[in-house]
Symmetry: D2
């Protein structure tokens, strides 16, 4: 019954095997090994981006911060959604790496950027060329979003057009987005300057690929990555994870499974009277249920996060309370049914 | 013949096995797993430091930078040797994390801090209480040093006494230092406020433990680690590596082997007329040989780094040229003898 | 007809005279002169704060940034209004000085902080003790606000109570706030940890006093001020300005005059059909008039700022357009009447 | 008898007069006033640099830090002398503004950069293109140096040639350097990318001109100046000071006088047995005298700084002790003779 996070699941056996295989002999350090070179080739092909640069890393926060810091001067503005991981869950990493740049966090009705609001605020900031203000530098969004919602290629194109800014994608759940969208990797990334491609939440141990589609960012990114402490010596083990993850579309298979488990859970919770708060496009569900139902499920050991409000569940039992459920590649139908049973009784 | 770095060697099989074992089932993220808790207990015992806090990380640079940033205000001075990794090999990571603090890099006759120079310069900075200057904040040293030399507990005590400052140890080669010194972990660390305990160079995949002996640093360190992107989600896999590394003193066994291989190589190079530039206390050798001998050995495929000068080896063949050789847990006697043969002919 | 800013006015003759007087002979540098010491005594008396520390500076942005950086760790949150000068007009100075801390900019119906929103968001951030989030550190507000509105002591007490955070006041127009509120300096500042007391906009040349009511902040503030380049050598000339400004309540007299001129202008604009967008509590007016009226007034040389929208005035002549008018100590009734006449015709 | 600093002297009457004159009427804020525009024209002419940009400021530390931060990425190296003001007297301002860049402080036999050492260390850093190191970005030197020594144009050309790096000059005592060197302003600055031109120490109140000879730096410099809090609103009063200072070569006259007073003092101290520690090229003297003589002079009220060692003068009376004496535009022959008399008796 582990729906607390996709970080609580383990590593897929094929990825562990790849680590064992990559262990033979000596290899050059800091990404000059053949696994890292292969990974770059593999992703250039996949994204149809022959000049892209690929950097194996172990941290999504590190990838986000070093990429965005390469995309803005210390006095620039990065636009993101107010629920973005970079805004609420990285203890200021982006601002830290970017030397004081501003994260401008925008609200909307869901967890995606509001294109019109973005257009209007970027235009206002761009028109204000006075030295007192801060100039627009970049847009960052996550796909899936922090609340499990998908951006389609069309929506991404709208955002690119409305902001006319370089775009970064936090792809911590890129596999889940791809599995649900059915578009090609190129379609999903053609508007991007940079991508944090995360494998960790979808079956890897600690493996992210920072992808630069814009080669002008190389020097700044490599410098930020290095001084952030994210230029790992034995890089072959990170690259080997991602290669195995990509092999035979394992990544899409694992993500599709997680998405299916989330859909099954969403359907079950809805039947029990739960209200879904966001689109369930991937492996995350935000659902509102009466506090008493949460208390019952928790008492039976259901593991998931209550969101924001009365986490001690001591208030009125009928009060609705939102919760987050995350499925992963290792979530089984039995897990889903067990948590539903815990609510149902 | 791989003597370029201890980072080019692989992962010890027992550590890989531990990863496979740690993979069973779900586990809490961000260090609340039982491997990470066990690791903290294990290191508290080992260092006889019941209040120490232990944080699994994947990056030595990240550990050094986040620890030192917790030990200084943004306007403080951290004293280190001019050859220190934090001074020459981290692209400014410490200054970046510490928000502008100064690394004061001190020269000496070898690669260790000169206690008298340290005493004198710290005293001068401390006496200068004017707001224009920068106050002393911490000392950082590496054991082994970047040039393979050992600090004994007595030398560490001298440094602590002469500076009267909190001390950080970069323990990227702590195992090698311990294997050669024969002192207890407590003796080697009792003067420290913080330690970056590195397992990566001694047989792990990517595993460092940041150890806080001073509990006052917890909040600042955890914040710096988080915003640096070094609070890994699936922490169990890092902790499991270090637990396996410590089990049955595997770490000391691997380090002792590397040290022995370096001693064998040092003896051989000396016999061939090489001059050792620094004490060979662990697994690193700095030796000076005529340029022609380097050219010969390189032509035969010997892999090691020429240091600083004529790396193309195009100058006068008799000119002496220093080089660095690093042995690791996976270096064999055959490797040593092969590289010696390459020089000898 | 100069209503563009209170920064376009000159220096009051008594303040210039004080500079001439302060020029006699040698004086210790960096604030050890008798003018600076007198200023500290004078403000301690005035604020009934015998332990307050006072620092002469030439920059309000510098004072705001160095004070706030002393009140937060690099990972803390400073709450302010979304229209605050520190949020929109200092090119990220606070985040820069504070090493990456977050300015959380809150909306409201006017230009003052919404106490209930502040209470709720601070509580949510405070309850979220997870290392991924950022902890509340301080509240910053301006009095007068950037839109000319007053906080009363009762409102300040509400904000202090609702946030339970240390409070900074940007007092760039503190004199205007005091002149209109009729309360004592102590009443207006008793909730504060720090105050940027600005004299520049009210008749000085370049003179701000950074006031620390909380002595715990001394070391951090002095360090931030120094490394920001705001520890001026010939401090006597800054302190002498502020002493002359305080003498015989010149500051209140100048501010009261500016406020009266603004009131006269506000009344006149209202008569002409203008709509006031914010409370006119001091020397600033935000008023909406048809675009055609602006075009007419501008054509006749009226100097003031159109706010945000169609600054070229090329749209529909009937469209309402907001503008800002700022009166200063040197604004005369004739100036006011002239600008009104320019609109009226 | 005030030889503690050139910061303890007052403002020249002609500069005060200029302030009074500049006070008439309203003027645009933030440097759009006619004094600031005139100043830019005046300095473009003087330096024969028609594209130079000139920014009035009140702080030399602010000018140095914002200029140098515009000349380096956050991971670059700025080379300076180990006695430089930016290295020892600005509490880390440059590193702070530059986001973590390194000040590499070089020793030498005097207070000037050692050209050969600079050439060698810059070449080594430049050749090391590995991402672990930090690339060379700029050279900064002061003219006069912190110890009162002059760089000639020929020496500046040597430094430019040997480093092949953009050069910044801290001209806190530029007037003194010019008065002694007899070269043209163009000759003294033709190698520079940027200059902090200081008037404060030579008779102004608080007035520095940041001069950009390299227009590529405009955006970064203006941004750093703004977020540092150094974009002053009533800029006309700073520019008016410098214009008056330049008028009829007042600046050179005041500097020549200060230099002459220092020469008179140096001659007198030498006669008394003092040893000059550095070239006396301008208005500063570093001289070594027996501790007992210092005690006597101090007892008679002589005001100057003992340098570094036994500032309480409690050691052996015969021990030599270095001291610094600074003459200014307001130092008279009588002041010199009085301090000499205090030593002599």
């Amino acid at each position: 019954m582990h729906f607390a996070s996709d970080n609580t699941s383990g590593v897929h056996p094929k990825i562990l095997e790849a680590l064992v295989k990559a262990n033979a002999g000596f290899a050059p350090a800091y990404g000059a090994d053949r696994y890292s070179l292969d990974l770059q080739d593999r992703l250039r092909d996949m994204f149809d981006a022959p000049d892209a640069r690929v950097y194996p890393m172990t941290s999504g926060t590190g990838a986000n911060a070093a990429l965005l810091a390469a995309m803005t001067p210390p006095w620039g503005v990065i636009y993101c959604h107010e629920t973005a991981h970079i805004e609420v869950d990285e203890r200021g990493a982006v601002t830290f790496y970017a030397g004081g740049a501003k994260l401008k966090a925008l609200p909307s009705d869901d967890s995606r950027l509001d294109t019109e609001m973005l257009r209007s605020i970027v235009a206002a900031n761009r028109n204000n060329t006075d030295i007192h203000g801060m100039p627009p530098a970049a847009v960052s969004l996550a796909n899936l979003t922090e609340f499990g919602e998908l951006y389609t290629p069309a929506q991404l194109a709208d955002i690119a057009q409305s902001s006319a800014l370089p775009m970064h994608m936090d792809g911590a759940r890129f596999a889940n987005a791809m599995a649900t969208s059915k578009v090609s990797p190129w379609e999903m990334t053609r508007e991007l300057s940079t991508l944090s491609l995360g494998a960790t939440k979808t079956g890897a141990m600690a493996a992210e690929a920072a992808v630069l589609f814009d080669p002008e960012l190389i020097d700044a990114f490599e410098s930020q990555r290095m001084r952030g402490g994210h230029n790992l010596s034995k890089a072959r083990y990170v690259s080997a994870q991602i290669l195995a993850w990509l092999e035979d579309d394992l990544w899409l298979e694992l993500a599709a499974h997680a998405n299916a488990m989330a859909a099954r859970l969403a359907a079950g919770l809805t039947e029990l009277g739960g209200v879904l708060n966001y689109d369930v496009d991937g492996n995350m569900i935000f659902a509102t249920l009466p506090r008493a139902m949460h208390a019952r499920a928790k008492a039976k050991g259901a593991a998931y996060h209550l969101w924001c409000e009365d986490t001690a569940l001591v208030g009125d039992p009928e009060t609705p309370q939102m919760a987050r459920f995350v499925a992963s590649w290792s979530t089984s139908e039995a897990h889903v049914d067990a948590v539903l049973a815990a609510f149902a009784d």
